[in-house]
């Protein structure tokens, strides 16, 4: 069961990273010069957290600005790409929660608190996905009408609160993985710690309505998802450490030749 969940987590993690990179790279930051409201650097986040018409104008520009339609198109395009991201990160968070549940529900010595944490993570992941879908729908309306919707910010804060909550809880699953050596040990620590930090900082941002916390949490979350994915993906290959893995590689036919050419020995 654990092996299956880890394998699925690798796929979901990789999809999350690719979707996030695609969404980030596809939006032309030059279209949005100047400072965004709330001091954030992502235009979509600025719209999500914007509370006044002035905020919306600062992001999209005045109605007579030539770049306005290009900015609107960029936001709409980004929302379309966001669908893949929502599916991917929800799957990742659900799988982290499922791993926690599986670690907790062991036959001889069940640890129900762990299982409870895992279930909570799964639930929060679902809440985050629902909020995100709703938020995107309202955001599309806002971009078309250029008027802020008071409920948009609430959906956004709920989304981030649930997302960071699920990530923070789910990240405990990394510490429950069996003892590893070398690089694996470091990957596990980095993934677990950055996931928990992202959870704390992000929840603080969502609860306090602090844009810096929400955006800062994204950086930690990115590191957590990336290192966690690599951790799961290399569990088998790096089981005895990096050097042992390289030794095995170095004994394969072609690589063995490469490892000994040219030789002075």
């Amino acid at each position: 069961m654990l092996v299956v969940l880890r394998t699925l987590a690798v796929i979901a993690g990789a999809a999350t990273v690719i979707a996030a990179a695609w969404t980030t790279a596809a939006i032309d930051r030059d279209l949005f010069p100047g400072k965004l409201p709330g001091g954030v650097s992502a235009p979509i986040l600025a719209l999500e957290l914007g509370s006044s018409e002035k905020d919306v104008t600062r992001v999209l520009g005045a109605p007579d600005e030539p770049q306005r339609s290009a900015r609107q198109a960029a936001i709409v395009g980004s929302l379309a790409r966001d669908r893949l991201f929502i599916v991917a990160y929800t799957a990742w968070l659900v799988l982290l929660g499922a791993l926690l549940v599986t670690h907790g529900v062991v036959r001889d010595e069940p640890r129900w608190r762990l299982a409870g944490l895992g279930a909570a993570a799964v639930l929060l992941a679902a809440v985050a996905a629902v909020c995100d879908v709703n938020e995107n729908r309202q955001l599309a309306t806002l971009v078309a009408a250029a008027r802020p919707d008071p409920s948009l910010k609430a959906w956004t804060l709920w989304k981030f609160g649930a997302f960071y909550g699920a990530l923070g809880l789910g990240s405990f699953s990394f510490f429950l993985e069996p003892g590893r050596v070398g690089v694996q040990r470091w990957l596990r620590r980095v993934a677990g710690l950055t996931g928990i930090i992202a959870g704390v900082v992000g929840i603080a941002g969502a609860v306090l309505g602090w844009p810096g916390g929400i955006e800062g949490g994204i950086l930690f979350a990115a590191v957590a998802i990336l290192s966690g994915t690599v951790f799961f993906a290399t569990i088998h290959w790096l089981r005895d450490g990096l050097l042992a893995a390289l030794d095995r590689l170095g004994e394969r036919p072609v690589l063995c030749w490469l490892a000994n050419w040219p030789s002075d020995e």
Partner: protein
């Protein structure tokens, strides 16, 4: 890469403890430190392409040109040039990777013996790592070259396949080179020994064998000298140099051979031809390889004694600075200079529009900003464009631009563009794009890359003479460096190859060429140095001391000396790092002299010298000519930065430097504006037009002497943009004798 830590955590052992082992962690850090030279070079090689090639990459303006191997559309046999370039880049990239691998391996395998850093088992994993990790750098470099070049090789049929073939051939060449090094290390000494033992001791063959053996023994003896001082890690128990060091030595010797071949190749086919056949990237890689070998050797020796390599470098730098040849020089010759050309003399050359003889005479003065090759290209494009649009008219209804232009005050890159324009004067007429031997194409010349020559200067004369300045004794060697290589690149026309400042001065006197001020800066005083064909003369009495206090004129500082026009432009365009701060070479290198650097340090607009000249010219003149001041700016100015969120003690520590840098821009601009405005208020007959290059939204200013095809297109498009029309119309009106208002475009 893992470091074995026996006996507790032998690699591959399943009993490795899961808790943190401080000793193991310390060993990792120790080896990371010991391998800092190959690791840093590896980082440079691996990260340079992603940081330079993609659009908006942070190092793009400085390094992107290195990865552009696209031959000019006009180059003969472009496919061959491209394939050759790719092959050479691949070969040098592999050579660099091999240097990294060999140096890292020497440190890993000798770490315990020489530094006590803990043993490393030479397992298949370690062997594979020292080969695979450097290969990443090769992949990154070749990928960067492919990415940057592919979009600019539409004129080469099957360009992608040509590049791939080039890379493959370069890789195959490297395999041969590596085999050669292995043969030098293992097979050659064995065969020589066998031949000697077999009694081949007579005749030519025997003599050759003995000579080869002696040379090989001599080289190995030299290489093992450090080992004799401190044998650990160099010599085995019998006192013989370890095989791995002999292999490293063999590879280094093969590289030295390639280094010399590259020198000859660049000399014959690169520097002397318009199209560099050997890519500039090869020179950069050659430099990295030299640094890898050299610094790795020094750290390998000194780290045992815990002597930081930076201390050794600083000590060596200080020690060799006692040699006079450790400085950079520019060549000057004694000359008999005629009477100074004062402002009033040039003013007298102003002409009236023939059809409007009742109006005062009119003259055009130009100020060109600094900004590297972009400024050079924009200056040449604006001046050539204005000359093209305002030619000599037979009906006498307007002056031609070339005829009305009387003085150019230029800074840095602007000086280079101005030089190419003024070079096109033939008997007082600006002759552009003529065919035949007199052909003058200033825009093409200003846009042409000079990166290759700078890289050659750094990789050869600067490197060799920087390490061994005592070898610099002749006038030629003293004045050969990356600065002189840049001058060489700019002598692109027959006339510039021999043009002296004194000749151009005579031309000004005889109305054959406008005057020029190449603005530079003196390091020791911070004053402007005006390297010019005209003189300012004494300032008006009330402000004599103050006005003259901020600048010096070349002919006052160095009376009776003359320099090449290309040298004057180069001194004005001494872009930091790209060109060295130089001092004049008169009789001997030991004389104390000021160092000359870029004019942009003091005034990047060229207006300060022009305003001073104009002030001298107009003071006390009864009949005032109409003056049009053409400002050529190679970048948009005056954009207000936004407030930032910077805070904390790090910001407090760094803000003085940030402020100094920002004040240089803002301060110079405000002085420039104020000077011109005061001049206009004082003299109502001074008009001003400003031609500013506005890059496209995604454009970036190059910080090396290389323009990509997109950047050249952006410059051409900017000149034809509708936004410049009011300024072009103002110049046209002025030359036709009509009233003109100040215009900014």
């Amino acid at each position: 890469m893992s470091i074995a830590t026996p006996p507790r955590s032998a690699p591959g052992s399943s009993t490795t403890p899961s808790r943190l082992d401080p000793d193991a962690v310390a060993r990792y850090w120790a080896y990371l430190y010991l391998m800092r030279v190959p690791l840093l070079v590896w980082l440079v090689m691996t990260l340079a392409p992603p940081l330079a090639v993609p659009e908006k990459a942070p190092l793009g303006p400085m390094l992107r040109g290195l990865f552009d191997l696209a031959p000019d559309a006009s180059a003969p046999r472009p496919a061959l040039v491209l394939a050759l370039g790719c092959g050479l880049v691949a070969l040098f990239a592999w050579m660099a990777a091999a240097a990294l691998a060999v140096c890292a391996r020497l440190i890993l395998l000798g770490g315990e013996d020489r530094f006590g850093a803990g043993p490393v088992i030479n397992s298949p994993g370690i062997k594979l790592s020292v080969r695979l990790v450097p290969m990443l750098a090769v992949a990154s470099l070749l990928g960067g070259v492919f990415w940057q070049t592919r979009s600019a090789i539409d004129h080469v049929p099957g360009g992608g396949a040509v590049m791939a073939s080039g890379f493959a051939v370069g890789t195959a060449l490297f395999v041969l080179v590596a085999m050669g090094a292995a043969w030098l290390e293992g097979e050659l000494p064995r065969r020589l020994a066998v031949r000697m033992a077999g009694g081949v001791s007579r005749g030519f063959g025997g003599a050759l064998t003995r000579a080869l053996l002696r040379v090989a023994r001599g080289i190995v003896w030299l290489a093992s000298l450090p080992g004799r001082l401190s044998p650990k890690g160099y010599l085995d128990s019998t006192g013989t140099l370890l095989d791995r060091h002999v292999f490293a030595l063999s590879l280094f010797l093969v590289f030295l051979l390639l280094y010399v071949v590259l020198f000859v190749g660049k000399g014959w086919y690169g520097l002397l031809s318009e199209q560099p056949v050997v890519p500039t990237l090869c020179l950069a890689l050659a430099l990295l390889i030299v640094l890898t070998w050299l610094l790795s050797a020094v750290t390998f020796f000194l780290d045992r004694f815990r002597v930081p390599v930076l201390v050794a470098i600083a000590a060596y730098g200080w020690a060799v600075s006692v040699f006079a040849g450790a400085d950079s020089f520019f060549l000057s010759k004694p000359a008999v200079l005629g009477e100074e050309i004062l402002p009033r003399h040039l003013l007298a050359q102003a002409e009236s529009v023939p059809a409007r003889a009742d109006r005062p005479p009119r003259l055009v003065l130009a100020a060109a900003t600094g900004g590297g090759i972009q400024a050079a290209a924009w200056t040449a494009r604006v001046l050539a464009g204005l000359a093209d649009e305002n030619p000599v008219l037979a009906d006498g209804k307007a002056l031609s631009f070339g005829q009305a232009l009387k003085l150019v005050s230029a800074v840095s890159g602007g000086s280079v563009g101005a030089m190419f324009i003024l070079d096109c004067y033939r008997d007082g007429r600006l002759v552009l794009n003529a065919d035949g031997p007199d052909a003058c194409r200033p825009v093409e010349n200003a846009e042409r890359s000079s990166l290759d020559q700078v890289a050659w200067g750094i990789a050869y004369p600067d490197l060799v003479f920087g390490l061994l300045p005592m070898l610099r004794v002749s006038e030629r060697s003293l004045t050969t460096d990356r600065g002189s290589a840049l001058e060489h690149a700019w002598r692109r026309t027959a006339s510039l190859r021999s043009a002296k400042l004194a000749d151009w001065r005579d031309d000004v006197r005889n109305r054959r060429r406008p005057g020029v001020i190449f603005n530079a800066t003196l390091v020791e005083s911070g004053k402007r140095l005006l390297i010019s064909t005209v003189a300012l003369g004494d300032p008006p009495p009330p402000m004599r001391d103050d006005a003259a206090g901020g600048r010096m004129q070349f002919h006052e500082l160095y009376p009776g000396r003359d320099i090449d026009v290309a040298t004057a432009a180069r001194l004005s365009a001494t872009f930091p790092i790209v060109s060295p701060a130089s001092r004049i070479l008169k009789k001997t290198a030991a004389e104390s002299e000021f160092h000359v650097v870029d004019g942009g340090y003091n005034d990047n607009y060229g207006v300060a010298s022009l305003a001073e000249w104009l002030d001298h010219a107009l003071a006390g003149t009864a009949s005032l000519p109409d003056v049009l001041l053409v400002e050529i700016r190679s970048f948009p100015v005056g954009r207000e930065p936004e407030p930032t969120d910077d805070r904390g003690w790090l910001f407090q520590a760094g803000h003085p430097i940030m402020t100094l840098v920002n004040v240089r821009g803002a301060g110079q601009l405000s002085h420039n504006e104020l000077d011109v405005r005061l001049l206009q208020r004082w003299r109502s007959n001074v008009r001003r037009v400003t031609f500013t290059f506005t890059p496209p939204p995604r454009g970036e200013a190059p910080l090396s002497w290389h323009l990509t095809p997109e950047q050249k297109q952006a410059l051409a498009a900017a000149w034809n943009a509708a936004g410049l029309a009011p300024c072009k119309a103002a110049v046209r009106s002025f030359l036709a004798g009509d009233p003109v208002e100040t215009a900014r475009c």
